[in-house]
Symmetry: C2
Subunit: 190 residues, 2 copies
């Protein structure tokens, strides 16, 4: 069967994989629909049929590409699991082009409402929901406070990392995320 | 004495005040050097002599304009003081054009290294230093843990607010900052 006759679900997966790889390996500056088309073997017309803009394609490809790296482990200890996941998150932001790419997408979204909508629908809302689900699972087995506002904890762990990514006054590293986790689990009071 | 002979410190203050007022009242979209010149009575040439770009002028004006609103109260109770200051901060971001203006400046800074440098030098680093000083004063009198990493707390209070400002998946309001403070002071563990 020729390439043109591949099932569309398969083509879609290959386009997303090419988009995610391109973003992580080379950043948003090098990201074009042409390159994704060349890497995936899909036509530009096919790609434009499924994604309204290169930002939307980059974000959906990135979400798929990082899903396994950012999966939440479940060793039975939520504090240790959050720490491991946050280390993987910070490594992804600092050791690949993903950090700069996300920063540029978030930056551009401040004056581009369509990109903001794509960012929230395709990336930030689903990632937030996964984090809240992991925190609520820990509430359910009594490892976190029963009255915990899990949404605010998301802003104090991953949101704090985005703050250092976007305004790099201080380093975004393992020591930082260890301090974030220690502040929340140990409390800051004397 | 004519306007042209005002002492330069006075002119500088009036330019900064005009810049800060313009940013808070009308946002970055309406911010021009021409308008600041007209409002302050200074010439455009004078303004360009002191500030390399309109971003740098907007940021320094904004810093001066919000300094008293964002001052840290000291009632002897650091938890209550942080809560009041954060309420004032969130009100400033949501009830004036300041929130959108800062979001656009941070956004543009992701692809404009000069603006990022101005933002960090003129706004984010000095504001961070003021917050760290307030937290360390509370450590010194035994209200916060002696081994506290104050820098990371800045990212979990104000940084968490910037996260909701820049990626508005959830509301940025008083309930949110109350949850941030409660998580840090009460701890999230069961």
């Amino acid at each position: 069967m020729g390439r043109g006759r591949r099932p569309s679900a398969e083509v879609r997966d290959e386009v997303l994989q090419a988009a995610g790889d391109l973003l992580v390996d080379q950043g948003m500056g090098a990201f074009t629909i042409e390159k994704v088309a060349a890497l995936s073997g899909a036509s530009k017309m096919t790609i434009y049929k499924w994604w309204p803009s290169k930002g939307a394609l980059a974000l959906e490809g990135y979400f798929s590409a990082v899903e396994s790296t950012l999966a939440f482990p479940d060793t039975g200890n939520v504090r240790a699991d959050l720490r491991s996941q946050l280390h993987a998150f910070v490594d992804l932001l600092s050791m690949t082009h993903a950090g700069r790419a996300l920063a540029q997408l978030i930056g551009q979204a401040q004056t581009d409402p369509d990109l903001m909508e794509s960012y929230r629908a395709t990336y930030s809302s689903p990632r937030r929901a996964l984090a809240v689900a992991r925190l609520e699972a820990a509430v359910a087995i009594g490892q976190l406070r029963a009255d915990l506002d899990a949404e605010s904890v998301v802003d104090q762990l991953w949101g704090a990392c985005y703050h250092r990514l976007l305004i790099p006054d201080r380093p975004l590293d393992h020591d930082f995320v260890d301090a974030l986790v220690a502040n929340l689990f140990g409390g800051v009071g004397a």
